[in-house]
Every structure is written in structure tokens, then in C-alpha cells.
């Protein structure tokens, strides 16, 4: 079976989540079809709805409207589906009074597909003392433990909610490296949320930009880089852009303007100059647009397909 025939890792249709009676909207009309076999980066500012999307994906909450499928089924619908998805929550919670070894025992007793050798090896490689209580571990060590517990049940999809946010740069490097090794060893897909673009750029090959409860853009990172460009031209020229060019965000300083635009195979004639964009510029462009014009999200749906 080729990757294209597999059900999408994440499939969302008009997914909406509201909290409480006053109805703060955390996600609004999200459409997604993320293929399997990818390392997916979910980026966006704090409060954009990243955690909500990931909690929906592992069944910790239920949608207010719309639907979400994970690996082709409703999230956490059954024990066998739970076995296929591993989740590491924000701040990597573990049981403070249980030792590292007891966490592995916990995993073994609650997961039929548990791989004890993998777990033991990874704990050794991360330098964790099995007899140590999890409450005494450093943030980095705790994250490694949580990662091992989530991964040693050999899931098909690993979900990480801001896993490295609380770690110092060195621990973050180690964690992300370990994460990638796990994903490769398991042949799993992974979703990783972060507000740190650097982390995402380093490990992800698929990107979802979530701002203001809506998906701004989603796609394969190479495709996204090919479809976006920086356009530099005299300021006046931006009022009459060539057909098929969508303005994402503009930045005008002096007589020349510069903008991130979306267009397939853009080759604009002078006076335009086309420059490639970095992933960071692209993401910032979408974030700027979402922040500046909260109602402009209407066009976001197209980008998510």
C-alpha cells in the first residue's frame, strides 16, 4: 500500500471548538487533510488553538461542530485506536511519585503493543536512572521519559504539544533529535506543535500555520516554499499585481516595497524582482496577516487543502 492510499493522519472538516457558555472560539471551521508518513509542524502564536487541535486529535476533548478523523477513525474511539496514537502533552506530565522504571511498567501494563526493549534502550541512551523518581528529574529528562512512554507502545502517529517549550536550548536539541530517531525507528507520522519556528524548521516536512482559531496555510514545506516568494518592486506597483498573485503581507520601507506573495511558478517581469522566502518569513507573513486583519481569515480555507 502506498502512502497515498493510507487514510490521512489528520482529516478535519469544518472542525470547530468552543469553550464554556460564553463560547470562546478556540477553533473555527478548520479543514485539513494531512497525509500519513510526515513530520507535521503546527505553528502559531500562543492562544491560536494549537493545543485545542491536538487535544481533539487524541480525544481528550470533543468538537463542538464538524468532524475530525485521526488515522481514519474518530479519536480515542477504542482501546485499539488509542494504541495507534501516542501523545506527549504540554509540560510533559509524569507521575512524580513513580520511578522511571515504574513508568515503563505502567506503559507495559496498559499497552498490549508495548515494546519493552525499545523502552529500556531509549531510557539508557537518554541517561535516565531507572530507580529515580520522576519527580526528581530535570525538565529535559522528564520530557525524554514522557517521549519514551508515548513511543514505546509503537504508535503509528505521535502527537507532541509544545514538547520542548520549557527546555533549555541544549535539552531541546537532545529532545528533538531523540524524537526524530523515534519517528524514523517506528516509521510513524508525527505532529508537533510549537511557537518556536526554529524547532519546526529543523524537524518538520509538513507545515500547518494556525492563527486566530483558523488554519492560515497548510502543506508540504517544499511545496510551500516553491509557491511563495518575496516580491520586491517600487511601491506603486503593488496596487496592480499580476493575475494569480495573492498578497500575504507587505512591508514598505522607502520608495521600494517588499511583500510575501503566493503564486505558483511566479516569474514577474521588471520592475518586479522575485526572491525566494525562508520558512520563517513565510510563517511570519501569514501570522502578520492574521494579526492585522482578523476577519481576513475567509481566504484561509483554500490554503489548507
Amino acid at each position: 500500500m502506498s502512502l497515498a492510499e493510507l487514510p490521512p493522519a489528520l482529516g478535519a472538516e469544518n472542525l470547530t471548538k468552543k469553550y464554556g457558555r460564553r463560547g470562546r472560539t478556540a477553533l473555527s471551521g478548520v479543514n485539513l487533510a494531512v497525509p500519513s508518513g510526515r513530520v507535521i509542524g503546527l505553528v502559531g502564536p500562543n492562544g491560536a488553538g494549537k493545543s485545542t487541535l491536538l487535544h481533539l486529535a487524541c480525544g481528550l476533548t470533543e468538537p463542538s461542530a464538524g468532524s475530525l478523523t485521526v488515522l481514519g477513525s474518530r479519536p480515542a474511539a477504542s482501546a485499539s485506536h488509542l494504541a495507534r496514537v501516542g501523545f506527549v502533552a504540554q509540560n510533559t506530565p509524569v507521575y512524580g511519585s513513580l520511578t522511571v522504571a515504574e513508568h515503563l511498567r505502567l506503559g507495559a501494563s496498559m499497552n498490549p503493543s508495548w515494546d519493552p526493549d525499545l523502552a529500556k534502550r531509549r531510557i539508557g541512551e537518554a541517561g535516565l536512572n531507572p530507580a529515580r523518581k520522576a519527580g526528581q528529574l530535570s525538565g529535559g529528562q522528564r520530557a525524554q521519559l514522557a517521549l519514551t512512554v508515548a513511543a514505546a507502545k509503537r504508535p503509528e502517529l505521535l502527537i507532541f504539544d509544545e514538547p520542548a517549550a520549557a527546555l533549555d536550548p541544549l535539552a531541546r536539541q537532545g529532545f528533538l533529535r531523540n524524537l526524530l530517531e523515534f519517528v524514523r525507528e517506528l516509521g510513524a507520522s508525527a505532529v508537533l506543535s510549537s511557537h518556536l519556528l526554529g524547532d519546526i524548521e529543523q524537524v518538520c516536512d509538513y507545515l500547518i500555520v494556525l492563527c486566530d482559531a483558523r488554519v492560515q496555510v497548510a502543506g508540504d514545506t517544499r511545496d510551500l516554499l516553491a509557491e511563495h516568494a518575496r516580491l520586491v518592486a517600487p511601491r506603486a506597483e503593488f496596487d496592480r499585481l499580476p493575475a494569480g498573485v495573492e498578497m500575504i503581507s507587505a512591508e514598505h520601507r522607502g520608495p521600494h516595497g517588499s511583500a510575501i506573495v503566493r503564486a505558483r511558478g511566479l516569474s514577474a517581469p521588471p520592475p518586479y524582482r522575485v526572491e525566494p522566502v525562508s520558512l520563517e518569513e513565510l510563517v511570519l507573513g501569514y501570522m502578520t496577516r492574521a494579526a492585522g486583519a482578523p476577519l481576513a481569515g475567509a481566504g484561509a480555507g483554500e490554503g489548507s487543502r
Binding site: L60, L82, P93, E102, K153
Partner: protein, 341 residues
Amino acid sequence: MMWLSWRQFRVQALVGAGALLVIAVFLIRLGWDVRDGYELYRAHCLNRADCAEAAARFRGAHRNTLLFLAAGLGLIPAVAGAFWGAPLIARELENGTHRLVWNQSVTRPRWLLGRILLVGLASVVLTGTAAALLTWAAQPYDEIAGDRFSALVFGARGIAPIGYATLALAFGTVTGLLLRRTLPAMAVTLVGFLAFQFFFPNVVRPALIPPERATLAMTAGAINGAQNLGGIGGGSVIGGVRIPGEPDAWIADTSPLRTADGKNLDTAVFGDCVDSPPRTGAGGTFGDAAVCLARLDLHVDVSYHPESRYWTFQWLETGIYLSLGGILVLFGLWRIRRGAG
């Protein structure tokens, strides 16, 4: 999965087992004491007058200890509900570990059911064993005292405590699930369940089975057999009357003293009789007052439950508490399935 449930409950189970051991040793020794006292009472019970005095001495020797024990052991379900039930989910939610444990290959309802069954079983064993030992220890006393129906005593004997333990634990667990904070959930469980334990015997229990009704003539003898005349709220009331022929029946409700035409006795007349009765030199608990009141040809209307209904009440009440507990557990399972992340 049960490994984790057991691992998380280990320390609490040990504390519970230790407490039960202390309670059991105490109750067994008490049981022997009570039996020794009972033998002594039997030895002195040669004629009616001696017998009454020996019985009074036997009751007096154990009354306070047994009441204190009934009250103390009656707290076990509420305490277990607060310390074992309330943190069951609330602590996971508070520490965020629910996001770890709910993403293992066990569905949330199954996880919850496993935990509730383990902790609930422990609570039932603790409460049930303590209650069984107390029932055994107090058995000769209960036979003489005949007040097994009083609110405190009833709830500490027989099988009713098993129902209480189940309901308290389910209540604590669901409260923790809804409040999501351990300490408030513990407080609400403790206060809420104790309030329920007060409310149920006083309001619901008397009406569980339609009571029998009787009219008791208030002769001087009957008045002297009662426990008190007058009350805190004023009025022509008499408390603790006994039904002739059914001395151990549970009097659920007693009307004020009534005259032959069915009207409540005038409080001024009642007050005169109680405060300044004509001297007759009569004996008994209430002496001249009893004679004075008896001359008025009074009666009270009572509703009561015969002693023979004791086990019917025990089973009924246990069944009700078990059912309420079961409903709460079902609600918890439904609620946690919907998600509480």
C-alpha cells in the same frame, strides 16, 4: 492497567489496613468485655427488681463507648469518600497526568471503572468489617437496650454501612471529576455526605415503609416510662414513650399530649402540672407531675415501626444507597467518556 491503579492506591490501602487492624483489635476486646458484662447481668438477674437494676448497670457501663463507636465508625464512609474517592480523578486533572494516563491503550471509562472498583472494594471491606465487628461486639447490649433503630446506631450496624461506603466513594469520585480540584472536592464530599447521612435517617427512613399507627393512653405508668416531658420548643410534648407489648419498636413520630376530644393539651395546663403539681407523694420518673397529667385523661398518637422490620429497613436502605452509588458511577463513566481534558 490494574497495576497502576494498585500502585497509586498502595499507600492509602496500607493506611486503611492499619486503621482496620487497630479498630478490629479494639472491637474484639470490647466484644469480650460486653460479654463479660452480660454474664454478670445474667447472674444478677434473679428477680424482676434485681434484673432491672442489673440491666441498667450493664447498659450504663457500655452506653457511651458504643455510641461513640457508632458515631466514629459512621464517619469511615465519608472519610474514605473524601480521601480516597475525591482525589481519584481530581488529582490527575490537577497534575495534568490525565493527559498521560488517558493516552495509553485503555479507554477512559475502563480506566475509571478499574480504579473505582479497586478503591470501592477497599472502602467496602474497611467499612463492612468494622461494622460487622461492632455489630458482633454490641450484640448482647443491643438485645437489652432495644434502640437499634436510633439514627446513629442503625447506620453503624449490620449491612447498611456497606451501602454508605459505596455511595460515599462514588460521590467523592464524581465530585472530583466535576470540580477538577482535589481539596474543594474533598471538602464537598465530606460535608455533603455527612449532611446526607443526617438527612436520610431523619427525613427519608421513617417513610420508607408506611408506619403503623397507635393511640397510647397516658396513664401515670406510661408517662413515667417516657424519657422527657416538655421540650426545647415549648408545647405539651412527651418524648421517648414506649408501646406496650412492643417495647423495642421504633417510634417514628409522636403527637403532642392530647385530651379526650383530640385537641392538643393547653400548654398552660401542661405547665401547671409539670411545674407545680399537687403533692401526692407518688414515685416514678416524673412523680407528682405524672399523676397530675394522668388525671386529665390524655393520650398521644404515634406512628411506629415494629422491631421485626429491622432487617427489612437494613436491606432497603443498603439497596437504596447502592443504587444511588451505581447511578453516580454510571454518570461518571458517561461524563468521562465525553472528555474532561
